[in-house]
């Protein structure tokens, strides 16, 4: 008799369908809804479920992980909404400078309500609020992307070193992560800003230094799991060079959770930048930063509520967009630990 167990067991680790397989085996699928197909299959025993899955996959031509994930992502309305929000805001950030005037140009109209000329009104210095929001979004996106880029590079490097070499390297690096996690991020950020000063670059450095911990942990966990798998052992014993093993076998395995962390991380970085600006330790005026604009509006809320609403909404839209995309990716890629 064919030993199904063994076969499906192998499939779970190296097949291209790791996601659906895991879901069907009854492992928690992460956040959000189970599709009807998943919940039906979950009712079956493990053995039967894997076979059922195999047979469902037989129906059409075999789909790659990317197509499969995209298919599931597309069905998630909230994720698509997030993608649209992010797309629009990124487009606005890119073409914004061609649309609006200099955000620091001061008109005579101070704290004016929205008009045809000034869509979002003007602020306490007579600057066009719309132009400032557009430039604020640009800055938020720039900081969000830069922080996440730096943070991901640090996180992947540390996690990989830790997970691959283990032993002392792992102990030292992970204790460092523990210690940094023991300091609430805003406290650490405030201390860093106190030490290195204000400004856009300082904010990027500060936020990147406080943000890489989760990525490092996730990547390390991925390395630890993959390193012991038989096919990696096999590759090692047959003399495949280390960098190739990592590149071909290990990195693809940690890729999915990292993608989710990147999407969520951009949103968090944007939120954190707004907080630092708001507290007066972020970018220096006259830089158009959404957090600064909100801080500046606080004394005028009653007469000029638009000065809080528009930058506030811009932050919410930015963060919400990346959060929804991240959640959608988490479901579509079936990442649990990110």
């Amino acid at each position: 008799m064919v030993d199904e167990r063994d076969q499906s067991g192998r499939n779970i680790v190296n097949g291209p369908d790791e996601g659906p397989m895991r879901a069907l085996r009854g492992d928690p699928a992460g956040y959000g809804e189970l599709s009807a197909q998943q919940s039906a299959a979950l009712a079956l025993s493990e053995l039967e479920a894997t076979a059922l899955d195999a047979s469902l996959e037989d129906v059409g031509p075999s789909r790659s992980l990317g197509t499969d994930a995209w298919r599931r992502f597309r069905r998630n309305k909230l994720a698509i909404a997030g993608l649209v929000i992010v797309g629009m805001l990124v487009a606005l950030g890119l073409i914004g400078p061609f649309l609006v005037q200099n955000p620091s140009f001061q008109t005579q109209a101070v704290r004016e309500s929205p008009t045809n000329q000034h869509w979002f009104g003007t602020d306490q210095l007579g600057q066009d609020e719309f132009a400032r929001v557009v430039y604020g979004v640009r800055l938020s996106l720039y900081i969000g992307f830069m922080v996440t880029l730096v943070e991901t590079v640090i996180g992947v490097l540390v996690g990989a070193l830790s997970g691959w070499f283990r032993g002392w390297t792992d102990t030292i690096l992970m204790r460092l992560v523990d210690v940094l996690l023991g300091i609430p991020y805003l406290v650490l950020a405030l201390a860093l800003v106190t030490a290195i000063g204000r400004g856009v670059t300082a904010v990027v450095v500060t936020l990147a230094v406080t943000a890489w911990l989760q990525t490092a942990r996730t990547v390390r966990a991925g390395f630890l799991t993959v390193r012991d798998l038989e096919y990696v052992d096999a590759a090692r014993t047959t003399g495949v060079p280390t960098y190739r093993i990592i590149w071909r076998h290990v990195l693809p395995n940690v890729f999915q959770p990292v993608v989710v962390l990147v999407a969520v991380g951009i949103g968090s970085a944007i939120l954190a930048e707004a907080a630092l600006s708001f507290l007066g330790v972020g970018p220096v005026p006259p830089t158009a930063s959404l957090g600064l604009m909100i801080a500046g509006s606080r004394d005028y809320f009653t007469e000029a509520p638009h000065l809080l609403l528009f930058p506030g909404l811009a932050i919410v839209a930015l963060v919400l967009g990346f959060l929804l995309v991240g959640d959608g990716l988490r479901d579509a890629l079936d990442v649990k630990d990110a």
Partner: protein, 334 residues
């Protein structure tokens, strides 16, 4: 269990020591010398002689390891240092400000757990109902609103607009000041105090509540699918008993972990909340000190926040161990 708690306490001591050390070196070895900061004030063009004198007076010209030794010696004795601008002692600042911060944080956590967990459970139980969709949506949006935006909105609506338009008394909350400072048993606010406390507590609780509701919902749905729930049904237990005994308890295990992890974010949110409501707490003081680059104050207060956070996490881990015997008895990982 005892050995687990001891091990965990040792770990806390290590993290506190290493964190304090890290912050110390971060603040006191980076390019600009403290003397320059103090002597030069904001304009940064300080007279070199003055800088030298200030540095000497405060001991900043000694080798860094000597400074570190002195810092550690006094920190271990419980002296968190003093400002070199105003010579305020960090310990005095804490005596004055910590109670308010701790009270607000305590009530925010109570609300977070009550509202977050129960709405998450309900959401999971009535999956795909209107209430579930609404809870999920509100939770997603709430976790994207910056704390300070929420704080201002709340202040303007229930603190200003409500007074201007004569809303009923229970919908009006004073937007200025922090109340008569009346407490029963140190932690329970008087009615008048509650009116001042409500807004910051709600704002501080909101983000964590949203996160917790989402996590609880997910965790409940995951627990519902575990094999032992099927066993419980096969035993002939009523659906109510299955949920109460076999789903809830297991679902709470990751929820408790998240509550612990979330304290870090909540500490950040507390800083923003205090700052937005102009509350004389520890958080707003850290912000002021950071923007004035008052290094010892930032360092001292940060160590305090770390310690509170560490102790809270420790408590969470202990309750976690109570919930999950696999941790308590040092078995394999869950």
């Amino acid at each position: 269990m005892i050995s687990y708690i001891l091990r965990r306490m040792l770990q806390l001591v290590f993290v506190l020591w290493a964190g304090a050390t890290l912050l110390f070196f971060l603040l006191f070895t980076l390019p600009n010398s403290p003397g320059e900061l103090i002597a030069g004030g904001a304009n940064r063009s300080a007279n070199p002689v003055v800088v030298k004198n200030v540095n000497h007076k405060l001991g900043f010209d000694r080798p860094i390891y000597v400074q570190y030794g002195k810092f550690m010696a006094r920190t271990v004795r419980g002296d968190l240092g003093e400002s070199y601008r105003t010579h305020e002692k960090v310990n005095d600042i804490l005596k004055e400000r910590a109670p308010l911060s701790l009270r607000i944080a305590f009530w925010a956590i109570v609300i977070e757990i009550l509202v977050g967990v129960s709405s998450g459970v309900l959401s999971a139980r009535r999956r795909n109902s209107f209430a579930d969709t609404a809870t999920t949506l509100v939770a997603v949006v709430a976790s994207a609103i910056p704390v300070f935006v929420l704080a201002y909105l709340m202040k303007q609506v229930t603190g200003v607009y409500a007074y201007q338009h004569n809303w009923p008394g229970w919908m009006r909350f004073p937007a200025l000041g922090f109340g008569p400072n009346e407490w029963y048993l140190w932690i329970i606010p008087s009615w008048e105090q509650l009116r001042y406390l409500a807004q910051p507590v709600i704002v501080l609780a909101s983000v964590s509540t949203a996160i917790l509701a989402r996590i609880t919902r997910t965790s409940m749905l995951e627990s519902l699918r575990l094999d032992h729930v099927r066993t419980a049904r096969a035993k002939g237990l009523s659906e109510k008993k299955v949920i109460r005994r076999h789903v809830l308890r297991n679902a709470m295990i990751p929820v408790v972990t998240i509550i612990g992890i979330d304290f870090g974010t909540a500490a950040g949110a507390a800083i923003l909340t205090e700052f937005s409501f102009n509350l004389p707490g520890v958080g707003s003081k850290i912000v002021t000190a950071a923007s004035q680059r008052d290094l010892p104050i930032v360092l001292g207060l940060s160590i305090f926040v770390m310690a509170v956070y560490g102790v809270a996490s420790l408590l969470v881990d202990i309750s976690y161990a109570f919930l999950d015997p696999r941790i308590r008895l040092g078995g394999e990982d869950g």
